[in-house]
Point group: C2
Chain length 330, copies 2
DNA sequence: GTGAAAGCGCTAACAC
DNA sequence: GTGTTAGCGCTTTCAC
């Protein structure tokens, strides 16, 4: 068991006090160049690394950032985790993954834990959470970034700018003279309703169509729900000729069901997803989708956290541009 | 900023000392039922949660488990992360995700960090690491679980039992009278060579065939490498009529290239992957693969860690059964 | 520009 | 069966 090298060791070797070592590291007060050099040499010599537990205990802040998402196995969130981790690494922060399985109680429990453990920050995609559930975080002064389609209380937000892309998607769909447009949306009790549905609805009239309530079915963000929703839509007396899905996982479930039912995509029905999850380009036909780049989201979230660590107090919103990716399912 | 509730608060309310509160929590020494009840009531009343920073400082052990993998965006590893997190949650442990991008220096750096931060445990899928790189972990007494196809030093191991499944795969392939069997393997400098290739090779003679060196191409575990490898194989004077891939990411890259080249799968060539990543059943034709269940791996790793936390000293190996999944690409 | 020292909340001897 | 207390390594106030 190699013993830990402490600041006291560094201080001794450099011939200074631990306070000075600490200040060299943090830069919170000026240190003479010669002193600084001696300390840095000692740090390198001894292979010193600060004990984050001691630091956390002293400062009341850990070096952990929680990533709280409905489903880390969804490639969109997996990619978000990867990017966030890489971006935060340089700040000495670690990413702790937290899966909520889209369950409100899990979401709340994880949030409570983040407060109790004094996490340095939280990045969350709320699913059934209410904005007020985040109050404990602001009360505790924990920087919080929400990644969601709509504002979610007075916290930092990373949100898609999907208007142009959605317009293009509608254009693509209606250009093929499709008019009966349906959607497989998320569950009714999801936080903030379904903004992707709302956006589509608000834009549809510009293309001479609409998304009537009768052509909206709902379910979880799973393949099973996508399959079930698609089957339901196609069993209607007047089935749709185009189906939008709240995300690509749903879309892929729908596509599987189409194969099963012998329904041709895009011949009989067009299919459009959201996110451009990694598998979207892999299915047949390749899935047309509204891409929401997880890498950009991760970078933006990391940057917002960084600014908070450095003192920013006012909430800020970053819009990440979504992009229409025309492939073969329309 | 709500103040933190400390053990001292709990002790005061329960009318005991902090030591007793601590022992109620840890169970490391007997506590009278009445005392225990009083403490538990106080904990619930006050909403107390231990300060893990203080605990870590005192014990020299954090509550973090590092999951170090080549690519967290690979659905196999994403699923592993999800399962590990859920299994470890009950132990009060958190999972920190660490992406190495298959780079040895990254792998080493992440390991060093785990030691410096006194992580409670490490779960790692080494890619270019050498077994001796893990020595710092054992020296530091950090429980380590390696998830790999072959033994990797004197640490706990979760490894596939893929013999039967691989045999079935060979049987499936050769039943269709295919004899020129090729493989797109991982890079030559990957740790432990390519055990999936070795296994295939050792079993091939039983089916009247072999995997000649000339029909093995190598590359990273990426779609690009899969595409390039497949193109190379098919440009041979005598191209293969069956191609195994080291994992499904590679296989999917190969499949894409087949489409591009107008090569029919499985008509012209059979294709077999490894892992059964989530997208394997999504591509067309649906990918035949040797499934290695990430959920089982995650559960096994969590269990091995738990045993170590409870004092086991001798290394242990858990074999997780792989399964042949016959779909449409053979 | 630098140092001395208090104390963050917990665990685990040691004492009774 | 329970209590007292030292001290883990760090940051930061106060003093010079």
């Amino acid at each position: 068991m190699r013993e830990q090298v402490t600041m006291a060791d560094v201080a001794r070797v450099a011939g200074v006090s631990t306070a000075t070592v600490s200040y060299v590291l943090s830069g919170k007060r000026p240190v003479a160049p010669a002193t600084r050099a001696a300390v840095e040499a000692a740090i390198a010599d001894l292979g010193f690394a600060v004990n984050t537990a001691a630091r956390s205990l002293r400062t009341g802040r850990s070096s952990l950032v929680a990533l709280i998402v409905p489903d880390i196995a969804n490639p969109f969130f997996a990619q978000l985790a990867a990017t966030l981790q890489e971006e935060l690494r340089g700040l000495g922060m670690h990413v702790v993954v937290c899966n909520t399985r889209a369950d409100r109680e899990e979401e709340r429990a994880l949030l409570a834990e983040a407060v109790q453990q004094r996490f340095a920050g939280v990045v969350i995609t709320p699913f059934r959470l209410l904005p007020k559930d985040l109050d404990t975080l602001s009360t505790a002064g924990i920087p919080t970034v929400v990644s969601a389609d709509v504002p979610f209380g007075p916290v930092d937000l990373v949100t898609p700018d999907a208007r142009a892309a959605t317009r293009q998607a509608l254009e693509g769909v209606t250009a093929a003279r499709r008019r009966r447009i349906a959607m497989i949306a998320g569950p009714r009790d999801a936080t903030g309703g379904d903004p992707r549905l709302e956006l589509l609805r608000s834009l549809a009239p510009q293309f001479g169509t609409s998304l009537p309530g009768a052509l909206v079915v709902r379910g979880e963000h799973t393949r099973e729900a996508g399959a079930a929703g698609f089957a339901e839509l196609m069993s209607r007396r007047y089935p749709p000729d185009a189906v939008f899905c709240a995300n690509d996982v749903i879309a892929v479930g729908a596509l599987g069901k189409a194969h099963e039912l012998g329904i041709d995509v895009p011949g009989d029905v067009a299919l459009v997803g959201h996110d451009d999850a990694s598998f979207a380009s892999l299915v047949r036909p390749r899935l047309t989708t509204i891409r929401y780049p997880a890498e950009d989201v991760g970078r933006a979230a990391a940057e917002l956290l960084r600014e908070r660590f450095e003192g920013r107090r006012v909430p800020k919103t970053v819009r990440v541009r979504a992009e229409f990716v025309a492939r073969a399912s329309v």
